[in-house]
Assembly symmetry: C2
Homo-oligomer: 323 residues x 2
């Protein structure tokens, strides 16, 4: 299918959808999936705003953190992790209400990671999604604490009444281990900047720093649906592969994108001698590996049949973000 | 009882014990409580070391964080929160095994808070318990991440097999809300440095920054024991009052202690125009308030009779730490 691969590399959406259909074994990806994705993002945005308003109503005026938390939680993020979580729950036959606390929780963890990663002692970024980073606006102390608070709050969300207490323990474990590994990955990423490019280290970093939280998103969705062990495993595999593809694609975008388009400084990874896929494997091989991960992700959800078509669409979308 | 109060103010241990007995309504505080306290600390130290060894065995060599986590988790801390948690569980009739994960979890949260509070952007401390602070040894990036990891790991511990899944949700909520409020308190403390001394703000900071985690410790112990709602409430009240007394006593020690004795720089609060009890209420009134909180803590556990004698001993110990 050389034309299909060409389509993906060029980020042609129609070719990607044909490709997704082809990889899904001929199952057609629904035409409305892009509208659905936008709709889901807006729903996540709305739920986050509602949640923040409820928090503000209960928060003492002495607390300076919520403004900083709100700044980063409402910065136009793609909401891919909560959307994935909700969709994984639906595909596994779960009721959406039971998955919303986990969906907000995973976005809290993701947002915490962005705030802390941007700190001067870490990646030292001034720009995130086209806006000044949290610490540039609120100062380092508040940025550190806002991130800390988001982690604690994520687990508070998992203990909320809407969550089935029978699955709380599994949800907490999946989120705690996914978050812990993500933090370990960030540590390896920072430490790796002083080391020569090492393909094995690159894979360790990407798996931990990015893929484990995507894996957690899908696992939390399946757990919220009280899915079978096999279904949970399939969803976790899908999320992990998708996360790896996402990070490889992110590395590639840093090489080929513009600062304006990315909303953050382009070419930064190379400047900092980061451990990246293009540095370790070259650009063409990185594209090939991203596609291989997507194919593996799509294969992992084969058991769910046409019900998982949106997950297939999301998979191909992830590596076509540069269009 | 002027002699009892005198004894407390002077930190005379025998007078404190007489006082504890008096406040406990004539119930004698066991003579061996100090030996018991030392023994419990050593047990917590041992469990933490065992846990760290298990983590190290499973940790990938690419992870630079565990050394930093270990440095701060094994720095000779007093282990008051885990000891309180285990004792609250025992007093409520619970089996100790079920409370150990929560005991380690609360020490992880406490340790995280110390690492982040010491950061240059926060309290900027070079010394903690007589040793260089985490970021002085491992750098700021690793210190931030080690703290982050400890929060995630605390919740991982609460999802471990030893924990009764029937109480996981309540444990997670108590720890998440206690931690979240502690972080809010630290935020208010930092922000308060630029403001005139405000008694109401001092109380907000102390309640959030310190008392809420002590409250959580006792609540987690009672929850681990599957105690009744009234017992959980009584333990939470005890922990909160004790935490307030501890923080007032800490403020007083900063005024009257030496750097050598404290293991951290003395007189720092005043230098930084921190919101403290002595600044807001004066030294004599701060002593009086600390004692009043201890009396309220002791009163809160009256229902548990002689079984709570060690908690009474701990209460009086907390404000006599300068002896």
């Amino acid at each position: 299918m050389p034309d299909v691969q060409q389509g993906q590399a060029n980020g042609d959406p129609e070719a990607m959808e044909r490709s997704a259909a082809a990889h899904a074994g001929g199952v057609e990806v629904s035409d409305d999936w892009r509208a659905w994705l936008d709709g889901q993002r807006r729903r996540v945005d709305t739920e986050i705003s509602k949640h923040l308003n409820a928090l503000k109503a209960g928060m003492h005026p002495h607390s300076p953190l919520l403004e900083s938390v709100e700044y980063s939680l409402t910065d136009g993020g793609k909401r891919l992790r909560p959307v994935l979580l909700l969709e994984s729950c639906r595909v596994c036959g779960g009721a959406e209400e039971s998955a919303w606390p986990a969906a907000l929780a995973i976005e809290c963890i993701h947002t915490f990671s962005l705030i802390h990663d941007d700190l001067p002692a870490m990646d030292d970024d001034d720009l995130r999604r086209g806006r000044p980073t949290n610490h540039k606006v609120f100062g380092e102390a508040v940025a550190v604490l806002a991130g800390d608070w988001l982690v604690a709050h994520a687990f508070d969300l998992l203990s909320s009444e809407a969550v089935d207490p029978q699955v709380t323990s599994a949800l907490v474990q999946a989120l705690a281990q996914g978050s812990g590994d993500m933090i370990v990955g960030q540590g390896a990423d920072i430490a790796g900047q002083q080391q020569p490019t090492d393909p094995e280290l690159v894979q360790f970093i990407h798996r931990h720093k990015t893929a484990r939280l995507w894996e957690a998103a899908c696992k939390l969705g399946a757990l919220s649906a009280r899915a079978s062990a096999d279904e949970i495993k399939a969803m976790a595999e899908y999320g992990c592969r998708l996360g790896l593809a996402f990070q490889i694609s992110d590395d590639l975008l840093d090489r080929t994108g513009t600062t304006e388009k990315l909303g953050k400084r382009a070419g930064k990874d190379a400047d900092e001698s980061k451990q990246t896929y293009p540095a370790a494997f070259g650009i063409a091989e990185s594209h090939r590996r991203a596609r291989a991960e997507i194919e593996a992700a799509v294969a992992a959800v084969e058991r769910f049949g046409p019900n998982a078509n949106r997950l297939r669409g999301l998979a191909w979308y992830v590596i076509g973000r540069d269009r």
